[in-house]
């Protein structure tokens, strides 16, 4: 008994210190989660409240009556499914283009001895620094001159162009992390550069591809100004524009319920996308390639 006492006491003490830390950490986590998720929660709750509850003063925080009326409204009275498909098509195409064009460029900049490599990289970096709104005026002129208005290309091309620098920079740093021996080994095995990129390097860079792909997709999905200006035909509009254009029957009536429902519907695909690929993003595929 006497031998257990001295050792038990310090153990209890560290336990307490540890749990205090734990409590603080939990409070911190809860604070951050509430801070960032509360607006979304508010939107979700609003979207399932009846109009009377939405307008009630004092605020009704938790709906007293559930309704799907607002969802039915945006899909029945407005072509929301159509808007979503538009958005999806534009975002997916530009994302794929981005990866298809950016990845080989990133590899070339990372590994092949490209003359003026530093200059090209600096250029890529500078492009990302351009204020968005300056590009917009010029692009509007180009779209007008080429007659691309009301054509998905008017969105796909700028979205791809805007996201390519990010793709190149992220993928380049990822390629640089891959062991060089792996590529040498592939060359000795008889792979040419293209086969090596497709069969050896891309499978290893999936986490990076997925990560940059999702970033590019989110940027394209959420883009508002180009979509608002270059596309005027109702049937071709994308989600952000459609949500912004929801309005009530009268000037003074703001359809909060429908807006909330549209926001939820517009965000949901992104949430699903991230959840779907979450594991891929985290996965460390290079484990075991080389020693250590």
């Amino acid at each position: 008994m006497t031998t257990t006492h001295p050792s038990a006491y310090p153990a209890a003490k560290t336990d307490r210190a540890f749990s205090l830390r734990k409590v603080l950490l939990t409070i911190g986590v809860i604070f951050v989660v509430v801070f960032s998720l509360a607006p979304i929660l508010w939107q979700v709750l609003t979207s399932i409240k009846v109009n009377a509850d939405i307008a009630a003063i004092p605020n009704v925080y938790f709906p007293r009556q559930f309704t799907l009326q607002h969802y039915i409204e945006i899909f029945n009275r407005r072509p929301f499914l159509n808007y979503m498909l538009n958005s999806f098509f534009v975002a997916a195409t530009s994302t794929l283009l981005c990866l298809a064009l950016g990845t080989p460029a990133a590899y070339a900049l990372a590994r092949l001895r490209v003359p003026g490599e530093r200059f090209i990289l600096a250029l890529v970096l500078i492009v990302t620094l351009f204020p968005y709104i300056l590009l917009f005026i010029g692009l509007l002129e180009i779209v007008r001159a080429t007659g691309l208005a009301n054509n998905y290309l008017a969105l796909i091309i700028p979205y791809t162009a805007i996201n390519i620098p990010l793709t190149i920079l992220v993928m380049r740093s990822f390629f640089q992390q891959l062991p060089r021996d792996l590529e040498d080994s592939a060359k000795v095995d008889g792979y040419n550069t293209w086969q090596m990129l497709v069969r050896i390097l891309l499978p290893l860079t999936t986490p990076a591809l997925v990560t940059t792909g999702i970033l590019a997709f989110i940027a394209a999905w959420n883009e508002f100004i180009f979509a608002l200006t270059f596309i005027t035909r109702e049937s071709m509009k994308t989600i952000p524009v459609a949500v912004a254009q929801i309005s009530g029957t009268a000037v003074f009536e703001i359809p909060y319920g429908a807006l909330a429902a549209a926001t939820v519907v517009g965000t949901l695909p992104l949430v699903i996308l991230v959840l779907l690929f979450q594991r891929r993003i985290v996965q460390g595929l290079t484990a075991g390639a080389v020693k250590g």
Binding site: D184, S185, V188, D189, G190, Y191, N192, G288, A289
Partner: protein, 379 residues
């Protein structure tokens, strides 16, 4: 079954960075040639040029009778084992072994047959469906070796394949490598900085330094007849004693002693004497009358288990330290110790060029018999 030839190979990155200056080397069918040298001697660059991963600035590489100097790595029939193994992490062991064969559009039956043969041989059968991440270091090393073997190439290249294994495993794999490559009759070029690997594995060792080939000989001869001072100091552990001495009337002056030079040579003003610590013996009464002995003060003793490495300061030469490897069971009483320097184990090198002098088996001059014990004589 081809011969590998390197002709006046040179690789220049910039006027100041020239890892390989002028290297000519032949590797025959049954030969296992090790490129050995300190880091930066150009051995890895040479191997990468043979593989086609680097292009030589000048010179030619010939495999069989085909000149492949500028051919792509995949177009030369070579296989390489990398230091880091460089297995494809997303492929199973089977696919790792098969990938090089599939690319050569080999028949799938033949691929299966070759893999079965090699995997049985290397004991990889139970690992075929695993990915490299699930293998231990030794297993990965085997897979990397297997990937080279299934290719049945014309030349094998190995780049320090053992350096990532722990000491015990390394000895075991080293023995296996020797057996495997002895049975293959294919030229092997092996790069290492570990002289034990070089000595045990190779049929010939190519010692490189500073971009030049210093010596190309069987391991035994590299050890017994180092071509120059660099090879003498690089091969052998503990390092050979290399002492720069003045010459006087057909003998080198070492402190109070005179070490006779071989006859028939014009003695230079200064000369380098080399003798391996393991060849310096503790002199006792039965020392052959011909043997040169010196006496000195023990300044340091290091226990290496099997033997003691003793550093002595030779009488009359305050700045010269001689190291001797003396079996642990041999003891001596006094602080002063008498050591024998058997003349057949003494190497002479030119002080200026470092080249070996009197290259053939050394003869003690008969006209100057060393009958008396030199430790009692002083100059």
């Amino acid at each position: 079954m081809a011969k590998l030839e390197l002709r006046h190979l040179n690789k220049t990155y910039s006027p100041k960075v020239i890892p390989v200056k002028d290297l000519s080397l032949d590797v025959d069918n049954d030969e296992f040639v090790t490129l050995l040298g300190p880091s930066g001697c150009g051995k890895s660059t040479t191997l990468r040029m043979i593989a086609g991963l680097e292009q030589p600035t000048r010179g030619d590489i010939v495999i069989g009778d085909k000149k492949v100097t500028y051919a792509a790595p995949g177009d030369r029939n070579i296989a390489m084992v990398f230091q880091s193994y460089a297995l494809y992490p997303h492929m199973t062991v089977y696919d790792n072994l098969a990938s090089g064969l599939k690319l050569r559009k080999m028949h799938s039956e033949e691929i299966r047959r070759r893999i079965a043969e090699v995997s049985g041989f290397l004991g990889l059968d139970s690992l075929m469906e695993r990915k490299p991440g699930q293998l231990s270091g030794g297993q990965r090393q085997r897979v990397a070796l297997g990937r080279a073997l299934v290719r049945q190439p014309e030349v094998f290249l190995l780049d320090e394949p053992l350096s990532n294994l722990d000491a015990l495993l390394r000895e075991q794999v080293r023995a296996e490598l020797k057996q495997i490559f002895e049975s293959l009759h294919t030229p092997v070029v092996y790069v290492t900085h570990d002289q034990t690997e070089a000595m045990t594995l190779s049929s010939k060792v190519a010692v490189l330094n500073d971009g030049y080939l210093q010596q190309l000989d069987p391991p035994r001869r590299i050890y017994t007849h180092p071509a120059n001072r660099f090879v003498a100091g690089f091969i052998g552990s503990p390092q050979m004693n290399l002492l720069d001495l003045n010459c006087d009337r057909g003998a080198a002056v070492l402190g109070d002693y005179r070490i006779p030079l071989p006859t028939g040579a014009t003695p230079p003003a200064r000369i380098t004497l080399g003798i391996r610590p393991e060849h310096v013996e503790l002199a006792n009464s039965d020392v052959n009358g011909d043997t040169q002995t010196v006496q000195g003060k023990v300044i340091l003793m290091e226990n290496l288990g099997m033997s003691n490495l003793v550093s002595i300061r030779i009488r009359g030469a305050e700045n010269v330290t001689l190291r001797a490897l003396i079996p642990s069971d041999r003891t001596w009483r006094e602080e002063m110790i008498t050591l024998a320097l058997p003349s057949e184990h003494i190497h002479w090198f030119d002080v200026e060029t470092g080249e070996r002098l009197f290259s053939e088996p050394l003869q003690i001059p008969t006209a100057h018999p060393q009958t008396q014990r030199l430790d009692i004589r002083s100059t």
